[in-house]
Symmetry: C2
Subunit: 343 residues, 2 copies
């Protein structure tokens, strides 16, 4: 086993799309745990659209990643060495370990991963923050009710694909908006969405009019931009717009226009509400229980797109999100995973 630990650090803040100049690859010895600490060998790093926001030097819901700091990332790994009473060597855990091959932790924000429910990468997707985001966004912010017509943008992504399946399981009519015929076919043929709109090849406005002739009760937005605007123009009375993300504008270098049809909120007595999953910390277990139940009962399919190449592939893998080149949860495999028996 090598004693070298490699990390991806923020070299400079990107203007627009991140590129090679954004990241630095650094090396240092694998850390040694102090009392009450343990070291994790990272197996899978989560790639999330929200990461783009963390690169900006702007006031937000978390501080930006500092220049020279290891890139913040959620990850799953195994305990390599432990001086913490609650974490034994070989246990599989998830946490905000960063884009690194090994991380040191005192257990803050760390969850134990139950691979009997689902494989480790799923705990970064359907049973991780994307799943929780879909669940609380739809149920709590979106106040989903049986019979609602639910529209989801970024529907083939990590959050959208789970949100749509939750909505279906709760008795809603579900319309997904995604880019390209393959993604759309996946939504309707494999995930059970009632309809899918391919925004790259058809008018979203017309697609919504056709698929949701009575209008939209819940719009779960992951993309912003023109798709948000089209959805606003098709709201029903009392609709709830859930603001989860706005990936269409994350790499923009010019100010992006706001949703011109926002007054549809007024006419339709509707609401548009933002949320951050971290605020639901004390309800995570409720969400994980509900998502696990959907998954193990077969009502929900979890899909991860696992990219290989190790942490040096982090930058190019992250950009897949902005190219719409992922289906399901995008994960980067870090190194080659050691079998438990070899530990």
């Amino acid at each position: 086993m090598t004693s070298v630990n490699r990390q991806i650090r923020l070299a400079q803040r990107p203007v627009g799309r991140p590129d090679e100049s954004t990241w630095d690859l650094t090396e240092e010895p694998i850390p040694t745990p102090g009392d009450g600490e343990f070291v994790v060998t990272v197996d899978y790093v989560s790639l999330d659209p929200a990461m783009r926001g963390w690169l900006n030097d702007a006031r937000s819901y978390v501080p930006p990643v500092g220049i020279g700091e290891v890139m913040r990332a959620h990850a799953v790994g195994r305990v390599l060495e432990s001086r913490h009473p609650d974490y034994a060597v070989g246990e599989v855990v998830s946490g905000s370990f960063g884009v690194t091959e090994h991380a040191i932790s005192d257990g803050s924000g760390v969850q134990k991963v139950d691979e009997s429910i689902a494989p480790a990468p799923t705990w970064l997707g359907a049973l991780g923050f994307p799943g929780l985001t879909a669940y609380f966004g739809l149920m709590d912010v979106g106040k989903l009710a049986e019979g609602d017509t639910v529209v989801i943008s970024g529907a083939a992504g990590a959050v959208g694909s789970i949100a749509g399946q939750i909505a279906k399981a709760k008795g809603a009519t579900v319309i997904g908006i995604a880019g390209g015929p393959e993604k759309c076919a996946w939504l309707t043929e494999e995930l059970g969405f009632d309809a899918a709109i391919d925004y790259k090849n058809e008018s979203v406005y017309k697609g919504l009019k056709a698929a949701a002739p009575k209008g939209i009760d819940v719009y779960f937005d992951n993309v912003g931009g023109e798709i948000l605007d089209a959805a606003l123009s098709r709201l029903r009375k009392g609709a709830r717009v859930v603001l989860c993300g706005a990936i269409s504008g994350y790499n923009a270098t010019e100010p992006q226009p706001g949703p011109a049809h926002y007054l549809s909120l007024l006419i339709n007595r509707a609401s548009m509400t933002g949320f951050i999953i971290f605020d639901y910390l004390d309800r995570y277990q409720e969400g994980i229980d509900a998502l696990s139940e959907l998954l193990t009962s077969g009502k929900m399919t979890a899909r991860e797109q696992i990219e290989i190449g190790g942490i040096t592939a982090f930058g190019s893998t992250l950009n897949l999100l902005f190219d719409g080149a992922n289906t399901g949860k995008l994960v980067l495999e870090v190194g080659e995973r050691t079998h438990d028996s070899e530990l």
Copy 2:
């Protein structure tokens, strides 16, 4: 007494700002009430920004006014002749009588006006729909809490001036945005607002930063446009944006840009919610009681700007709203009010 009844009817839908070509003056005999009906002599017609929306041939919360129809308007008048058991000649009533000198009614949507609480025109303002809009918008939609920092645009208008005074009475810090030093002085010196920002002469963004350094808990929006955008950029965590109107864009002939800073809702876990006062029908009395109590206890000042000239002045008076040329509730006096003793 003349037997001629004059009305203002919609001649054609305006493109942009309404003008003389928008309206027709028509004459017909004063109607005769059938069984269960009564005729009202209109004394005061309410002028409201929402009227502009009713002129557009667009799906909204009420049907548009039809070409050739009497212009829809709330009004106060006296019962001239009655074959309705609940309405006696001489009683003062409010209702959607339209821009007309006399109206026939079966009592639908009609309220009796208690002039012992406030003079008749006040029942079109502080104790009418503007007051109710301010009350339910702030309390129910805005979920006003003691200690909140509340910002109100169109603050010297019919709704804004009442909303600000309610917020003050409930223990909030209140900042008004209005056009011109006179309106701003009225807000701070007479209505007790904590601060006022003159959008015609200073940066709203900087004004908000100075007057609400910790950010905004409730933003009550009557204007839309750049002022809404500035307020969005200064929200606090958990803020509520109440969409009441957007007068800045009502006469626009080009699509208006949406609020570019809408993602502040996401970062701040905030909401933006539209409402229509008609949905609160079954709670009107609660609102009127609360507003009457504020008014009679001296915690609230009602101000009406009463324009004269009769119904032929309707078009020019309506445009005062779009010029920002009114302070408080804009009312048109129709004819010369007859004293009760002369009925």
